[in-house]
């Protein structure tokens, strides 16, 4: 299933947040969205997943999601959004409960996603017992459990320290290499963008519109830390963003 954004624009009261966004999200690819603070990245993600209605334009779905997909458009949130009163297993069970699947199938799915995210030993743990990185793994496992057609990830690694982030990026690359998933990945970290994105969309400052789409052809598995091509791409992205970021910063001061 592909997603296509057609002339998306969004407004909160009198402020234009997004303008004229045209974008394709092809199946099996990770599209990263970068842009200065407050340019509407999170808003765009909410529009894509149907948590909010765009003021103008529309998000269209081309083709049907795979038949076994329980929740085609699935989010991974920056703040994890785990229920503190449910164990790791219970948090994953939560999103399977409303779909009328048998206990056996539920068991199979839970064991599978816990193995894939290396969480099997933490099955009964409560969120308060887990580190940030572990919590985000649980959130990713929960997202994988509903077999999404597109994963919508809003700065999923921003709340983590840089070592944990590095580890989780490797995990995401492994997950993708074993079974390609489609994702829209919002981040303000250009390194994450060049490591994970097949395409990197650069948004301008508010009202956000697309400045450039940078395609990166290197296979994900070969994008090691300090890869020279990636460094170059990252530099290029930074050059694009620097002026926008500076202007956005000034704007916040003046406002």
């Amino acid at each position: 299933m592909n997603l296509q954004l057609k002339k998306i624009g969004h407004r909160y009261g009198a402020t234009d947040v997004l303008q004229d966004i045209d974008l394709d999200i092809p199946a099996g690819k990770i599209v990263c969205i970068v842009g200065p603070s407050g340019c509407g990245k999170s808003t765009l993600l909410r529009l894509i997943g149907g948590l909010e209605r765009p003021s103008t334009g529309q998000v269209v779905q081309i083709g049907d999601p795979p038949g076994d997909s329980l929740n085609p458009l699935t989010y991974v949130f920056q703040d994890f959004a785990l229920l503190p009163w449910r164990s790791v297993e219970g948090n994953i069970r939560l999103v399977l409960e409303d779909h009328g699947i048998t206990n056996r199938e539920t068991e199979v799915i839970i064991s599978d996603v816990l193995t894939r995210t290396k969480l099997t030993d933490f099955r009964q743990a409560l969120p308060k017992q887990l580190s940030g990185g572990m919590k985000q793994r649980v959130a990713i496992a929960r997202a994988l459990a509903v077999k999404p057609a597109v994963m919508l990830m809003d700065e999923p690694l921003s709340a983590l320290d840089s070592q944990t982030r590095e580890l989780l990026m490797d995990d995401l690359v492994n997950l993708w290499t074993r079974e390609a998933f489609t994702a829209v990945y919002v981040t303000h970290n250009l390194n994450e963008a060049v490591r994970l994105g097949h395409a990197v969309v650069v948004l301008s400052r508010r009202p956000g519109c697309i400045r450039e789409v940078v395609d990166i052809d290197i296979p994900l598995a070969e994008r090691t830390l300090g890869h020279p091509d990636l460094e170059r791409q990252q530099q290029h992205l930074w050059n694009l963003m620097r002026d926008e970021a500076m202007a956005a910063d000034q704007e916040l001061v003046n406002a």
Binding site: N71, W85, R86, L94
Partner: protein, 269 residues
């Protein structure tokens, strides 16, 4: 960097991070209790406190034991308990139910919040004659009074608790296409539970106050009736026995809610 010398000796950095972190202390409460009672006992025995001002704690205890031995204790306690149980259960269930509805539906909120705010400060005891006319002089009017009194604080605590449920968790539920009912049952309700339980603490204390008030106005048996009788005879030992029973009742309730919190809210850090 200055040299360490005779005039410049090394000093440990002062600790200034203490306090502001309540720690549980099992014994302080009991110790204060015992100390106060011992003080009263000594005061009354030495004659410093006259028997007309306060009864002797040991006399209160022996009155209590007499009450126990005569079997009258249960005769008073059982009806009181059942009034409290039935009234508070009705009031708290309606309160939690309506509070959740107010928390979930804007229209209900707009309509009911001012109404509840208008009812809340009315001393419910003042309405007892009205309840007697509506529900008769027997048990029903007592249930109604206690239920009404527990209802309002429970409503206010409950919708406040629902308002405080983490919106990002509700968003998460919606993003996984959970049904409305699932979101309420599995996210809103457990998320509001801490607030509901702390509201219940207050509501149940109010229920005890109203229980006594209702029983004072017309009941043959019950702690309230016992206290009223003691008061009219100016029998201070009995009066204080009744009051002590009420305090114990309150302590018991608070402990019960504490247990409930431990059981339901173990997930909190």
């Amino acid at each position: 960097m200055p040299e360490i010398s005779q005039e410049n000796p090394p000093k440990t950095v002062l600790f200034r991070g203490g306090g502001f972190a309540p720690r549980p202390n099992r014994w302080a409460g009991a110790a204060l209790f015992i100390a106060l009672i011992a003080l009263l006992e000594m005061g009354t025995r030495s004659g410093f406190i006259t028997p007309l001002t306060l009864p002797r704690p040991s006399d209160v205890l022996s009155t209590f034991i007499d009450l126990w031995n005569s079997g009258l204790l249960w005769k008073h306690l059982v009806p009181s308990f059942s009034r409290l149980l039935i009234g508070a259960t009705i009031g708290a269930s309606f309160g939690i139910g309506i509070g959740i509805l107010i928390g979930l539906f804007s229209l209900l909120r707009a309509g009911l919040v001012p109404l509840v705010a208008a009812i809340f400060p009315i001393p419910k005891i003042a309405l007892l004659p009205l309840f007697v006319i509506w529900f008769g002089i027997d048990e029903t009017s007592k249930y109604a009074l206690i239920a009404f009194g527990t209802f309002t604080p429970t409503v206010v605590a409950t919708y406040g608790a629902v308002d405080n449920v983490d919106r990002s968790l509700i968003r998460m539920g919606q993003s996984f296409s959970l049904s409305w009912f699932s979101i309420v049952r599995k996210i809103v309700l457990p998320g509001a539970m801490p607030g509901i339980l702390s509201g219940l603490r207050i509501s149940l204390a109010i229920a005890i106050i109203l229980l006594v008030a209702a029983e004072m106005l017309g009941a043959e048996y019950g702690i309230g009736a016992y206290i009223l009788e003691a008061g009219s005879l100016y029998n201070l030992e009995r009066l204080f026995t009744g009051v002590a029973i009420l305090s114990l009742l309150g302590l018991g309730m608070s402990a019960a809610i504490g247990l409930l919190e431990k059981w339901l809210l173990g997930w909190r850090t």
